[in-house]
Amino acid sequence: MTKDVTAIQGDKVPMWNDPKARALAIQVAVVAILAVAGLVILRNTISNLSRMGQNFGFAFLTKTSGFDIFQALVPYSSESTYARALAVGLLNTALISSLCVVASTMLGFVVGVMRLSKNRLAARIGGIYVEFFRNVPLLLQIFVWYSLIVLQTLPPPRDAYDFLGLSYLSNRGFMVPRPLFGAGSSSGLIGLLVALAAAVMLRRWARRRLEETGRSFPTVAVSLALLALLPMVGLLLAGLPVRLDFPVKTTFNFSGGLVIAPEFIALFLALSIYHATYIAEAVRAGVSAVSRGQTEAAQALGLSPAQALSNVVVPQALRVIIPPLATIYMGVIKNSSLAVAIGYPDLVAVGGTVMNQTGRAIEIVLIWMLVYLSLSLTTSVFMNWFNARMKLVER
């Protein structure tokens, strides 16, 4: 017996039974398999491309695109390059996603709070809203908004809804005044920056005063007022260089102004309403996760219901709400690609057109991957930062 034991202890473990050696072998095998598969794919791709008379490269981006895009945030025409067309698409994706993030967050918070309301009708309607819009495919909702609400329900330009002659709503879209920035408009931007800096400093000062003396300060209201007023002051000092270009109703259509396309309206409504259901659920879960004892303790300390909500319940609920919010926001960005179905020129739609024209499938898909991955990464980094700030600091 003793001999056996020493034999086991003394001998080296054979290589094939050594976990480290095994792990190494498995990993080498995986790398080898992936490399072989990659080589096979690469070889096939090269031979397929050469058969079609193509080669890999991004040189095509500098060629003239030759197609029009009806909504462009930067100057664009059919004589611009493919690269610029893709940039326009990217900006459109960014625009619709950021607007939908804001709108769905607001709507989602309202509905989430509604579902927790003591008013039974509000709670029930919130529930019906969530259960209905969450369980119908987003694409169907986009179609419904686009074809029914926007194209069928809204009147033709002749009978457009008139908002005091300033804006018009018709099935050609929403015509709103377009701001024209003349020389000296940067003073407004400077005012905004100053206001931002002032708000940050105000917040620091208010917090210090709160910690030292216990007296609170209405930081949020004052900051908002600063943010609204200072750019105005800046513009006034520069002699109001911003003019508004109002839409003018002609016989059959409109001229001037800024056109918000029907596709944009439909996509905005569908995306916001759909994702608001998810945000509402996250909010509900977050607020329910704060135990009742917290509210009661706040009341016992003499805080008013509003103070209890903003100083005790919401900060704790946010810790639960933020992680799922990050996922939902990424979903908004990704789902904005459904724009292609109704022809809103986002990155995927423009990329698809470019792909059809040039046949550059690999390059376009690589660009998509790069853009969407960096957007996801940016969102998740930002939300992680926000989460870390909001996290309860434990002893």
Binding site: N44, N48, L140, S147
Partner: protein
């Protein structure tokens, strides 16, 4: 004990009379006040929301029932009389419903789709009913037999497999047979005691790689073109497999015979599947281009979820692996796929996949979309399974280790059954998302339920102002019914699991 040492002054021997609740705490007035009019603000909210709800409900009922057109054969029936607003155009739905369900599947062959649907239902319902026994057998039927059955039923089978297909499968099975002694005796003994077999298998593997890269060049022997490489690979593998089985039976005795017999059964089953796919059942071939409607929606989503389950489990295990290479590969795949929109994945599958394949190999459009959907949903499945794995306490791993189970035994027998059970609500949630996301296949030119209806709406013979609203209403209700019932099921399992854990 008989004589009491003290007198009990008073014991109530009757129930106290029940008092009515305090004034103002019962009745409709209280119910209204408590639930709907707690304060002025609450009352206002009630009034506004109530008016809104009544208005919407009235509009829907008015459209769908009161003003609706119920009979007719063409658009004329649904056109509104001058000066009135028309209601829902139900004859349109009745006319198109078959197409929405089956797409362009030949009408005479629709019974095949129905049969598959029925078979699926008969397997899924007992699978999802917790109290029903035989879960393992049921899962086997659902995950292996049912897909094959559906494949043959829907396409018509008769795939005309070539000799090369059979040879490849047999070669692969023979190669795996060489690992039977490893399974029985452990890695070292299994290979050491079968040195010749292992070498032969290794040579065959190298030849196979060479064949892939060099291409098959048949060699003329006596006037006959013989594909020398494949034949020699098969021969080598056959000898190697024979040696392996002999070693297994001689070296391990009775367990060896059992394992060899089981493995033989698996091989036979694999060959039987090939024959089943190759056989001619007299069914008319239906091209996948003719599939559509709800059938296609179900085919895409069910295939996606079934295919993503094994892939997702492997990826989840890979992500938790201690081996850095495997972990990094898994994380990269999962995060890249999760960061991309499904549309771009579908584009990729339909445009890039053909580029990756050897020239001349061409894939069915549906198959390409299915591959894209399966890869996409496997990344999400991996995250769900990982959640389940993380919920398993460390003691379970340690308990398995102390029993002497190997890594894979621990996973298959101890960890995964528990983890998957915990993950069921989220797996169902994944399925709901996938079911909704299948609508996107219309972007790559497949006509699922939504795509089918969408094309029907443009049909001139039914063009009325109310065609589109009616169609969309029915579609929304169909999708809603599927998704809502599944989400209810997820909630039900979740509650059941929670109560089981609370005990």
């Amino acid at each position: 004990m008989t004589d009491m040492s003290f007198q009990v002054p008073y014991v109530r021997d009757q129930e106290a009379p029940r008092l009515p609740p305090p004034e103002g705490m019962v009745g409709i007035a209280h119910w209204l006040r408590e639930g709907y009019f707690r304060s002025v603000g609450s009352g206002l909210v009630t009034l506004v929301l109530g008016a809104l709800a009544v208005w919407i409900a009235w509009r829907v009922i008015d459209f769908a029932v009161l003003r609706a057109v119920w009979t007719g054969g063409s658009r004329d029936a649904c056109l509104p009389a001058a000066g009135t607003a028309a209601g829902a155009c139900w004859p349109f739905v009745a006319d198109r419903f078959g197409q929405w369900l089956y797409g362009f599947y030949p009408i005479g062959e629709r019974w095949r789709v129905n049969l598959c649907f029925l078979a699926g239902l008969m397997l899924i319902v007992p699978m999802l009913t917790p109290s029903f026994p035989w879960k393992m057998q049921n899962a086997l039927l659902l995950l292996v037999v049912f897909p094959l059955f559906t494949l043959v039923m829907l396409t018509g089978g008769n795939f005309h497999l070539s000799i090369a297909d059979y040879a490849t499968t047999i070669g692969f099975l023979l190669f795996l047979t060489c690992l039977v002694p490893v399974w029985l005796l452990g890695l070292a003994q299994g290979l050491l005691r079968n040195k010749i077999g292992a070498w032969l298998a290794g040579v065959a593997f190298v030849l196979w790689l060479a064949w892939i890269f060099a291409g098959p060049e048949p060699v003329a022997i006596g006037g006959m073109a013989v594909p020398l490489l494949p034949v020699s690979i098969l021969a080598l593998l056959a000898v190697s497999a024979f040696l392996a089985v002999r070693l297994a039976i001689k070296g391990a005795g009775r367990p060896g015979i059992v394992v060899a017999a089981n493995w033989g059964a698996v091989c036979l089953a694999a060959l039987a599947i090939l024959v089943f796919l190759d056989a001619d059942f007299g069914l008319v071939t239906v091209e996948t281009a003719q599939w559509g409607g709800l059938t296609l929606t179900l085919v895409v989503s069910v295939t996606g979820i079934i295919a993503s389950l094994p892939l997702g489990i492997l990826l989840a295990l890979g992500r938790r692996s201690t081996m850095p290479v495997i972990r990094i590969v898994s994380i990269c795949f999962i995060e890249v796929v999760r960061g991309l929109p499904l549309i771009s994945v579908l584009f990729m599958a339909s445009v890039m996949l053909p580029l990756f394949l050897p020239p001349g190999v061409n894939f069915d459009k549906l198959l390409r979309a299915l591959i894209g959907v399966a890869l996409f949903s496997s990344a999400y499945m991996a995250e769900v399974v990982r959640g389940g794995l993380q919920a398993i306490p460390k003691g379970q791993y340690e308990g398995a280790m102390s029993l002497g189970l190997s890594h894979w035994q621990t996973m298959i027998k101890i960890i995964l059954p528990q983890a998957l059970k915990i993950a069921i609500p989220n797996i169902v949630g994944n399925f709901i998302s996938l079911f909704k996301d299948t609508t996107l296949v219309l972007v790559v030119g497949l006509f699922d339920l939504l795509g089918m209806a969408q094309t029907g709406l443009r049909d001139a013979s039914w063009a009325t102002p109310t065609t589109a609203p009616t169609g969309y209403l029915v579609l929304a209700l169909i999708y809603w019914a599927f998704c809502f019932s599944m989400s209810r099921y997820a909630t039900f399992t979740e509650r059941r699991l929670n109560s089981a854990r609370a005990r």
